[in-house]
Symmetry: C2
Subunit: 173 residues, 2 copies
DNA sequence: TTGGTAAGTTAGGTAAACCAAACAATTTGT
DNA sequence: ACAAATTGTTTGGTTTACCTAACTTACCAA
């Protein structure tokens, strides 16, 4: 029953937008799927059939479309991958909204479970560790703009970083 | 002349292995391309024709295969993307060789020029900045294994980090 | 030189994804 | 309730990228 042959990129995209539409409108309609995927209405029917065969959606001709439990699970996984990648591109690499969104959209089909979990940890750690966090990212951004960093002020930077941490620690008590 | 409509993933893969084979053996042969791509000999011919049409390879039936200037340029770009992504997965996220290689292979088609350049900067900065570098990565790895970090030792960690930097600075003089 | 093997090509076929346009069902406004 | 508009499906076609098997070319070796 619960076996999962892997899905094509196209099929993953369908699941993703169906989940999205379910959340927006309770159910998904072929027309809206077509619109979100940027394809023609006629192409959707075939796409849906392939998902029915894999028991990922509930659907009969002219009915509306919902995800099965199995479908929800996979759609949520993909959506999560998308969000994590986008977050990384946006908050860490500081790419602009459009590039981040588009790139995440393409990358989401390329990363496996292990890699995505590791990336989650990485981003978490990066923002929580006092040695990094927002101000470190800020310095990175300046570095990447200039193409070079002035590594001579590192001691000051480290001093400040330590001081800031001590302050924050104090404040908590 | 030098316009570049974008290539399919398959075409990018061809260019990548052809460059690889050129470096290994001076020229690429259809059989070796097939082998590296994991496809049949017969499929290669068609693939090559599509690259000839885009002036990316020099090739006539029964001849050997080399990249044109334009082809080299693109092949090198793709190879570079591959290497950068693999580096990130390997050295930053600390994924194992096989996962890193396979994932980079899939991701290389999904990232654009801007994103890859930003990632290069990021990795450079991460390893050069005294606030991060190898020992920071090491702590991240422990964190990601345990699932949690003991954030109580941060002050010591920052102290050590500062001390280490001062030592290194001293040593340089 | 010639015959066998390895390498390359061709031909015919499949599958996934799409399109456009014709057609069918459903929904909506009055 | 029923015509019009909207939505969904079907059909026939295209493209990309493979496959297998038969055939051709190139190369090497006795």
């Amino acid at each position: 029953m619960g076996k999962r042959e892997k899905l094509s990129e196209s099929q993953e995209d369908y699941l993703e937008v169906i989940l999205d539409l379910e959340r927006e409108n309770k159910v998904a309609r072929a027309k809206d799927i077509a619109e979100k995927l940027g394809i023609q209405r006629g192409s959707v029917t075939g796409g849906l059939k392939s998902l029915v065969e894999k028991s990922l959606i509930n659907y009969e001709p002219y009915s509306f479309i919902t995800l099965t439990q199995k479908g929800v699970k996979i759609a949520e996984e993909i959506t999560r991958r998308h969000q994590i990648l986008k977050d990384f591109l946006l908050k860490v690499l500081q790419l602009d909204e459009n590039t981040a969104e588009a790139t995440a959209c393409r990358m989401e089909h390329a990363v496996d479970e292990t890699s995505i979990e590791r990336l989650v940890s990485f981003v978490e750690y990066l923002f929580q560790c006092p040695r990094t966090g927002d101000d470190w990212i800020q310095s990175f951004i300046e570095y990447s703009k200039k193409g070079k960093k002035d590594w001579s002020k590192c001691e000051e930077c480290l001093d400040e970083c330590l001081a800031r941490h001590q302050d924050e620690n104090q404040a908590e008590k």
